[in-house]
């Protein structure tokens, strides 16, 4: 019965202790050191806005030339200049005997999405963070990182209706099933929802949302951050059964969405992981997409629609039907 099951691609149901990357812009200042363990919500960095670059002041290499400067021979690009004369900032590069530094206005704090350990810090590039616990990997995400309690509006299938979101959902990360449109996203943001977990989302909607989020962040009176994580890709597809079970078990807990890599972080108390039938397979593509069943052996090379010859396997569906499905359209969870 398991013959040939190893030719079906495997996707991990969850990722344990994933490494996530929180991007830094030039001028952002880390508040933690490498190796430090932090709790959920702890401040990791201060984000800067309206950052510009300019000379910190003329000086000779390795010598302070201005009162309050702590420049010395160990200064290097990316370190923080602690000058007390208003010239403080991230050292950028050394030119003409002096450092150019970034200058900006402290803005918001970047906080830990879940508990974890700081793995690396690269000024101007990002901070790598080992998130404790489990996470559900997505295919795309925008915005974030955001935190909120996980709530399911419709974890089965179908599209999210804008009317289903009200102010009682403020502060939540909503699991919204198969697909979501632009109107529902607009309403979710207006109601103070922090994020959405969705099976499929059109790339255009995701792209528009990312552009809107950038505009909002650049505004003076910015709304709370908002993020979306897409679990299965741009096409409409309901959430896989085991994924649904995990999300239902984690409902009510504080979770987080991060964009790099796209993930829903469930933390150390991510809920119980479902037992997976070792023969269970999911149809991810083609006319049977979204259905799950049990592996029933290799079907060999078969002719499918449009006269295409493909390697296939038999799948037994819960309704008792049996079908040969191309191996490329199948997936199983590890």
């Amino acid at each position: 019965m398991t013959d040939g099951l190893d030719l079906v691609a495997t996707r991990p149901l969850v990722v344990h202790d994933p490494v996530v990357r929180l991007p830094f812009e030039i001028g952002d200042r880390a508040l933690v050191d490498i190796g430090v363990a932090v709790e959920q919500g702890a401040a990791l960095a201060v984000r800067m806005r309206e950052v510009t670059a300019g000379p910190a002041g003329q000086r000779r290499r390795g010598r302070a030339v201005r009162s309050g400067s702590i420049e010395d021979g160990s200064a290097r690009s990316g370190s923080w200049s602690g000058a007390q004369d208003g010239a403080a900032g991230e050292r950028l590069f050394e030119l003409g005997g002096g450092w150019w530094v970034s200058r900006g206005t402290p803005d918001e704090e970047l906080t830990a999405p879940v508990a974890g350990v700081v793995r690396s810090i690269r000024p101007g590039s990002g901070l790598e963070f080992v998130a404790s616990g489990v996470a559900v990997a997505g295919t795309a995400a925008t915005g974030g990182p955001v935190r909120g309690r996980l709530e399911a509006i419709d974890a089965r299938d179908g599209d999210l209706r804008a009317g289903a979101i009200d102010v009682a959902r403020a502060g939540a990360i909503l699991v919204v099933g198969g697909r979501v449109d632009a109107e529902a996203i607009t309403r979710a943001r207006a109601m103070g929802v922090r994020g959405l977990v969705v099976g499929g989302m059109s790339e255009k909607v995701l792209h528009d949302l990312a552009a809107s989020e950038r505009r909002q962040l650049a505004s003076v009176h910015r709304p709370p951050p908002f993020a979306v994580v897409v679990l299965h890709g741009p096409l409409r597809r309901p959430l896989d059964g085991p994924v649904r079970t995990i999300l239902e078990a984690a409902a009510g807990r504080e979770v987080a969405i991060v964009a790099d890599p796209p993930m829903l972080l469930l933390g150390e108390h991510g809920g119980s992981l479902p037992q997976i039938d070792p023969l269970a397979v999911w149809v991810t593509q083609g006319p049977l997409a979204g259905r799950s069943g049990r592996w029933a052996g290799l079907a060999g090379s078969r002719r499918f629609r449009a006269g295409v010859q493909l390697e296939a396997g038999f799948v037994l569906f819960p309704d008792g039907s049996r079908a040969a499905v191309p191996l490329g359209d199948l997936e199983r969870h590890a």
């Binding site: 030719l7 691609a9 990316g78 101007g124 741009p234 083609g286 449009a306 295409v308």
Partner: protein
Amino acid sequence: MTSDSRSFFALDLGSATTTASLIGRIDGRWRLVGSLAVPSAIPVDTVTAHVAARIAAADPALARTLDVADPNDASGRPRLTARSGPPPVIAVLAASEATRILLSDAATDAGWRVVGASLERDDVLALLGLALGPPIDMILAGTADPAPSAERDRAATLDALIAAVIDRRPDATVVLSGRLALAAIGGRPGGAEVLFAPADDPAGTVRRWRRGPVGNDRPEPLVAFLERVRERPSDAATAVARTTESLAAVLGLRVEVIDIGMSAGRRVAASPTDRADPSTSGHARARSVAIREAALVPQPLDDVAVDEVMAWLTTPLDRVRLRDRLRELGRVPWGEADGGGAELRAAALRAALARLVAATADRFPSDPPDLVVATGGSAATLPGPAIALAIADTVRRPGASGLALDHARLLGPLGTIEDDDERRRLVEDLADDLLVPLGSVVTPAGIRAGRSAGRLTVRAGTGVTALDLVPGGLQLVDLPPGHVATAEFDFRDPVRLGAHGRRFAIEAGGGLGGLLIDLRDVPLHLPDRLEHRRELLAAWQRALWVGFDG
């Protein structure tokens, strides 16, 4: 590899599929025994074990002879492995926009994906942010040489920026070119690897860059230099070019290989050298060009790229939905290869071929080669006749060519054999197994509109077929694989078919698609109205593609 083994696996590890083929020595010759293509997510050892198991089940005695009777031991067989993957990313930092464009073009030609900024257009924060970004594999920075005065003023800032980048990213590889390279000779801080870009380009395209005195490498143009830096072990692109040379030498034919992959499109042409010259007889030289924009799903997937695919689709689909489907094709290239997915692949393949031909037209002969070979992931699942038609639709040259498919994806793995003679001997043995004949296409140009362009008589072993030549039409003569026919054309007016004339006799080989008489325009003109265009495309595809219902 081939001297002391009874069998070995040829592995083509692509972005979308993994293909494992068992090559065995049977009756003193190397033969293709079996192959299997699966999604690239499947571990290689699993695939080789299944190939061995199938051979053992089909012919236990042969499996024992080839030493693959126990599938669990298959992973221990020798392997030739070719790998292809997405192109690495290079950040181009330049003193001026003109230099950024020149450097970016050189890097693109060398197969890199390029992001760039210049001090003329962007501020120092933008340049620093770009170089520190996570997707960057290498940094190319430079000025012109000699640098104009505007660049000279910025060169010091650019030099300081590069020093800062090296300080922050000691693992980075940085290439310096032009005046910047000359200024930097004598040492660079930090642990980063700094290369100095070369000059001495005979074609004059990169004459402005001068190579620094590093190592013992010979001076070479910037494009070749960047190509060499980019190359990875077992690089499929380089390997396919080598096998194309061997194939041209073995067959004594002008061969062109067209490879549309998930990360780039590639065109390789090789011609056998002069047989009269004993020093070069039996060899061939290949020209190979990779175009990143000619990938099956190009990145970025902008509106132009989506519209190019839409122009070849036979079913109506709006731009938003088509973009999502193409994005999904890029994400899961092995998914939904049948039905509408096959039609989408065929349309994306045509769009990619058209981009490849447009981008390489000035670098390849305008005469058709004797044999066109399709390879790569995009051709892996489509029916043979559908591939033949896609090539006929897009690679349009007056003349006649044979068409074939590298069905077991062997061109890459065989090309990883560096010894020319050993590779050529192997290709000679495998020549009959390597390629599946798709047929022949005859494309006359300069046909005048009218009811009839003349007559065609096809004489094959199975009999004689006569038909009227209809201008603008696509006519099919059934000619199975292994058969050869003589096609005698008698045109009403003179046409171009290799030469200019009215009467031609062409020997054509058969294949899965038969003999294709393509009397459509060169280049192809399609109706502007989408509905008419779709009807015409669908009619052509229905004629060749059994099972197509678009």
